[in-house]
Amino acid sequence: MHPAPSVIFFTTFSGLGFGLLFFLGLGFPAVTGWTAFAFFAIAYVMAVGGLMASTFHLGRPERAIKAFTQWRSSWLSREAWCAVGALMLMGLYGLGLVFFDSRWTAFGILGAGLSMATVFTTSMIYTQLKTIPRWNMKLTPLKFMSLSLAGGALLAGQVDAALVLLVIAGLVQLYAWVEGDKAFAGSGTDMASATGLGGIGKVRAFEPPHTGTNYLLCEFVHVIGRKHSQKLRVIALGLMTIVPIILLALPFSHIVGVLAIASHIAGVLTARWLFFAEAEHVVGLYYGKR
């Protein structure tokens, strides 16, 4: 799959933003006044910024409002509802904390639930696709949510929770890579089933339908950078989990905290780039490519 920057930024930062909102909604840290304002501002910049970035890959962003209509069947539509619901409830909750010095717990808990629901619905957009075997597994939502919680804990300054969640997120990511590498072969889709010609013999793509490229090849058959995938996995896992864990184990200071967050974000961005770049769509089989 083509690793579009807009979608990488969207999933990374909305995951972090909603992860932070989850912890704020549950009252960790129990901040009020301007400190609360700072925390909420960071969460909203990330969550809303991520959502805005996601509209950049639309062909017709001016009609984005229509994406709210199909919540019955479409995970993308459900994501839109959850995101707006979470942002509104957490906005009210934040309003109480910042300006009235009062904790409206119900809004906080509901907002926290919807924040995680947003991350879940985002992950389901990818998980539901049978055409991309690497994504079509239960580990995908687990990975998105564990990473969002780990990043949220890190941003919320919950060191103990962050240590545990970073380890979990790292392990889930490792397992997702191991399982993902076997997914395409395990899906049962190959050139024989794609063409229905496997009964005659071994099928090979002889001539593509066109001399140039096309939307399908640009969008679904991205092979650049895959050769470095093993190195990038080590870099992603190191920056995303190992470096922050080491930094958090040091005596706490704000500089160390900021460094841990920066490293984590760089790691998640790398892992998310791989998430797209390594994903293979079955349509590539018609072109004899993966």
Binding site: G59, R60, S74, L129, A194, K202, A205, F206, T213
Partner: protein, 250 residues
């Protein structure tokens, strides 16, 4: 609404004969010609006369080489037209967040309402067949409409009321009809020739069927003239025989 209908009254679709297709790409051109001038946004090209050209097509013809397992069997070349299969369980429809993609109850055709499409591309991600292409000029998703503006069009002569690709195919490799009616010509053809689904394991239940290539003829041994023809000597004789033996010994 992007939920799928439980049942459609008809299952209009194509039957494509892989035995007959000669790979001339006439269906590709007639499809682009009709659909760029009629229903919906035109099918744009990018950099059409430059080095790096691309464009939107609703129908494309691949060519595959198939090598049978038997050692002496010749490879076969199979031309393979591919367009939307108007699946019964169309994953492209249910993922659509806006309701732009839908499957018609009356005939089962999968269409895009372009004025509702936000161009998110998720339906193209969900389609295993590469049947949907996002038009780069218009920013909306394009796909085969089964020439919905031809097949019911009473302004056209009756023989033209079929998809442009079917009407134009010079080899008669494309057939159009109701695959939900077991007595239709296309259904009979599928039953007779063992029509197949592409990627059945994806669970899309495609309406369009592909007729597999017929087994190759085997040339029978002619023995009418055989008595008059001495078999060619297997073992070399004379000078060549001497050379062969000498070279063997070296």
């Amino acid at each position: 609404m992007t939920t799928l209908p439980a049942k459609t009254e008809k299952k209009l679709g194509l039957v494509i004969d892989l035995d007959t297709c000669v790979g001339c790409h006439a269906c590709v051109i007639s499809c682009k010609g009709w659909n760029t001038e009629n229903y919906g946004a035109p099918l744009s090209d990018q950099n059409a006369y430059g080095a790096d050209n691309s464009g939107t097509f609703l129908n494309r013809v691949h060519s595959f080489e198939v090598q049978p397992e038997a050692a002496d069997a010749a490879a076969q070349l199979i031309h393979f037209p591919k367009s939307c299969l108007h699946c019964e369980d169309a994953p492209c429809v249910t993922v659509c967040p806006t309701g732009a993609s839908y499957k018609r109850v009356e005939d089962g055709i999968v269409l895009v309402n372009e004025s509702d499409c936000i161009g998110c591309g998720l339906c193209a991600w969900a389609c295993p067949y590469g049947a949907r292409e996002l038009d780069q000029a218009e920013g909306v998703m394009k796909k085969c409409t089964l020439c919905v503006d031809r097949i019911y069009n009473e302004n056209l002569p009756e023989e033209d009321r079929q998809p442009a690709c079917v009407r134009t195919c010079p080899a008669g490799a494309r057939h159009f009809g109701d695959l939900g009616d077991e007595n239709s010509e296309v259904s009979k053809l599928v039953a007779e020739r063992g029509g197949m689904d592409l990627m059945p394991e994806q669970g899309t239940k495609p309406v369009n069927k592909y007729l597999p290539p017929r087994p190759k003829d085997e040339m029978p041994e002619f023995d009418v003239l055989a008595p008059f023809l001495e078999p060619v000597a297997e073992e070399p004789k004379g000078f060549l025989g001497w050379l062969d033996k000498t070279l063997e010994k070296l």
